[in-house]
């Protein structure tokens, strides 16, 4: 079957009952999505399916066929000049020096990116509720929370900048 991953059609050999995480990591060699529990508990396998944070370890291929899958490898954008522009959440995670071992971070970042899409101006409590089902064994919770709030502010500033008349922007 065909899957659409990070804007590219990929043909995969496995059947529709195969789980997305193994297809990504083992068949396609896309190891940015991690595996932690294979049972939906930890969130390290999170990818976006049509923009919705989805645990790839409990998601059969049948569910994602025909949908747009975004993994951490596809979250940054290339601008017109070909330069890589990190997603504001990725940038915020660097700025706050969030990751320790990093194993949970693809899942944290994609969960946050999807959340901020639906709630661009969250309160701290809303961030905690949205991120509260993603484990980080290293215990980076304090910084994750700060970084998600910072990313929200950053994205709001970008939206404001984009809607201002050109002369004001300059």
């Amino acid at each position: 079957m065909n899957l659409r991953i990070n804007g590219t059609e990929r043909e995969v050999a496995e059947g529709s009952s195969a789980l997305l995480i193994y297809t990504l990591r083992d068949e396609l060699g896309m190891t940015g999505a991690k595996i932690g529990c294979a049972a939906g508990f930890c969130g390290v396998c999170t990818v976006l399916v049509d923009g919705v944070a989805t645990r790839a370890c409990i998601t059969p291929l049948a569910v994602v066929e025909g949908k747009e899958i975004t993994t951490i490898e596809g979250l940054a954008q290339q601008d017109a000049s070909g330069a890589v522009r990190l997603h504001p959440v990725q940038q915020a995670f660097i700025d706050a020096q969030v990751p320790q071992c990093g194993w949970c971070m693809s899942g944290q970042i994609l969960t946050a990116a999807a959340f901020l899409q639906t709630n661009p101006a969250p309160t701290e409590a809303e961030v905690v509720a949205a991120m509260g089902e993603n484990y980080c064994r290293c215990g980076c919770y304090h910084r994750i929370k700060q970084a998600v709030l910072a990313a929200a502010e950053q994205m709001a500033a970008q939206v404001v900048a984009a809607t201002l008349p050109t002369e004001v922007r300059a």
């Binding site: 496995e14 195969a18 789980l19 193994y22 990591r25 083992d26 068949e27 060699g29 896309m30 190891t31 940015g32 999505a33 991690k34 595996i35 932690g36 529990c37 294979a38 049972a39 508990f41 930890c42 390290v44 993994t71 951490i72 490898e73 979250l75 940054a76 990190l86 990725q90 995670f93 660097i94 020096q97 969030v98 990751p99 320790q100 071992c101 990093g102 194993w103 949970c104 971070m105 693809s106 970042i109 905690v128 509720a129 991120m131 509260g132 089902e133 993603n134 484990y135 980080c136 064994r137 290293c138 215990g139 980076c140 919770y141 304090h142 910084r143 994750i144 929370k145």
Partner: protein, 759 residues
Amino acid sequence: MSGDANTQPAGADPNPSRDAQTADQAAAQPTKRSRWRLSRRGFLIGAGAVAGGLALGYVYGVPWTRLQLAGVFEGAEGQPSRFPEDPWAWFEVLPDNRIRLYLMKVEMGQGVHTALAQIAAEELGIAWEDLDIAQATTGRDMGDSLMTSGSSSVSGVFQPLLEAAATFRAMLATEAAMLLGAPADQVMVAGRGFAVQGDPARRVDFAAVATSKTEWEAPKEPVAIKNWQDYSVIGQPRARVDIPAKVTGQAIYGMDARLDGMKYGAVVRPPTISATAKSLGAGAAAEMAGVVKVVVAEDFAGVVADTRTAAYAAVAQMSTEWDLGHPWQQAELEAIVTVDGRDGIVIQEVGDASRLLGEETTVTSEYRTPFAIHTPLEAQAALADVQPDRVRVWCSTQGQGFVRAEVAKAIGVDEQIVEVIPTYLGGGYGRKAGWEVAIEAARLAQAAGVPVHVGWSRLEELRYGYFRPLTHHQLAGRVDAAGNLLAIEHRQASGDVAFDFLPPLMTAVMGADFGAYRGATIRYDAPNKRTVAFRRDLPIRTGWWRGLGLLPNTFAVESFIDELAHAAAIDPLAFRLQNLHDEGDSGRLKRVLQAAADLGEWGQPAPAGRARGIAATVDVGTAVAMVAEVSVDVTTGKIRVHKVAAAMDCGLTVNPDGARAQVEGNIMWGVGSALIEEMTVQDGQVVPANFDRYPLLTMKEAPDVAVVLLEAGDGVPRGVGEPPIGPVAPAIANAFYALTGKRVHQLPMNEARVLAALA
């Protein structure tokens, strides 16, 4: 800094299917390694660095040399590791004139690559961007310190690396002066080369210097290194070099290692902790879809298949008959780990505590802590490629040297042909100091004739490792009318921590497990104090878990100190300060206690419904104190930790932001262990098979944290990765007491235990 090793096919060669080269053939070909003539002393580290690590002055009847040997395994200070004396083992010059630093320490999130790069940059005197760092494989001779543990990576490597960097720069500078025809003292580092002072046009690049000859001599005299007060890179916060790859999915871990043509392996596991196999057999595994090879040996059975799913499905079909052994229950194990007077080893004796204890004014108490599991989110993982003349293992490991030796033994090859390539670790915490998964991958790869990856499931990670052991503590103490400690005794029983990894002869000589009693001795001033360790043999494998005995022992001792303070009707902070002196580690402990108290608003009224508790420890030379602010829901019994304020003096801090991150992470570990984490055994098996039965702390329970770092003012870095795990649980327990007048004597302080305490 141009990225870290494990993102590019350099030292770590992390994604071998893209590039099947090793370090020596890496894309950015370094200049040829030159010969080095030994001419001065080696770096024998240890003698000067024993401050506090093992409380050696207190050890009775244990030869110093044995403890030194044990230090190899513990990795604590006092570790007699040899680091390479030859600067060319540490450094190479790249064709683009950057200098590459090779590191024997692995990056598991503790930021060690960045901190060590700062140390090198300090003495090399080059720009941060001009330093490249690479994970050394075991193919590179980096001495015998191929272990990352015991909070010792920065403190242990600090001096040898400073000296190696200074020597490397001096050697290149001397050669550059010759090439430039200038006096050596007028040749300075300028960008990616050297230039004559005042005449920048007369310059030579690093690569030109490095390739100008093939044999280098050590400077006759040791090269002077900077005074620590003059450091400009060390001590500054640096962005971690491994972080960009970790937010873009580019970082490669053991679980991610891939090779063309590789297959996936799975291994038969015993159904109980005491099971022994009566017979191993292939069963129906060979007929299962996708199976490449079924391996049945005397002591090992597994499957190699096209996919991981197929491998696990097939392994479930293998026919194994087990003798299940005794169906151990939790209560039986707790009965084993009990202080009961047998075979105690005195590890601290000052005055005569027993003479004063037992009187009416004696306060006594008991504590217990449970089994805990490391459960790194990346489970054990290794990829092995076994060729007749060459074996390579990509592995998420804290001990690549042990992995190489054990793999060679397991598959019957000469260690010299085995190269272990450490990847990034998706968490280590002591659990990746083993080598089982590498052996499994290697045995399966050898049998199947293809590269095999073994990546444990969560069930395997939770059940088949080694655990933080059960502990039991009995304490007794007396305080005089003025609030001075008169006598105190701590009797502590624990399953093995380090002893499970040491030969029986050594453990017999040592008697008490230094890992189990880490943090057990009494730091407070008392004319009479005594600590006794009771080793208890459990039928389940226990071992090093972050901080080893530090968390259980600090929970017991610092909870008890609080009990003594309350019994004497003295403020717990004032009581601690009163019973410490101003000099040495004791003085540092006082200062962190005061700093944590200030940061945590000690002495000021807490918000309604909350109270604060304080606790502190000195571990591997680092003093750390914390104030926790908690509330409790009296109907559910749930303790909520709102804030933890921490003060740490780890001596000289190399990367302050990295040190803070370690404190923050340790606080979360401490809260998890204080409130949630508990592994139990039932009917002979470890209960949790996934996170539903071993839940971890989430952001919902995570406290706000504030961290202040103090400096010892002596230019000596000490350990950071574990000491802060000590005071968290007792600070919470003490806050709970301040709030409710009740004490929970057993971890975790979960709902059931809190309700029982409140009843």
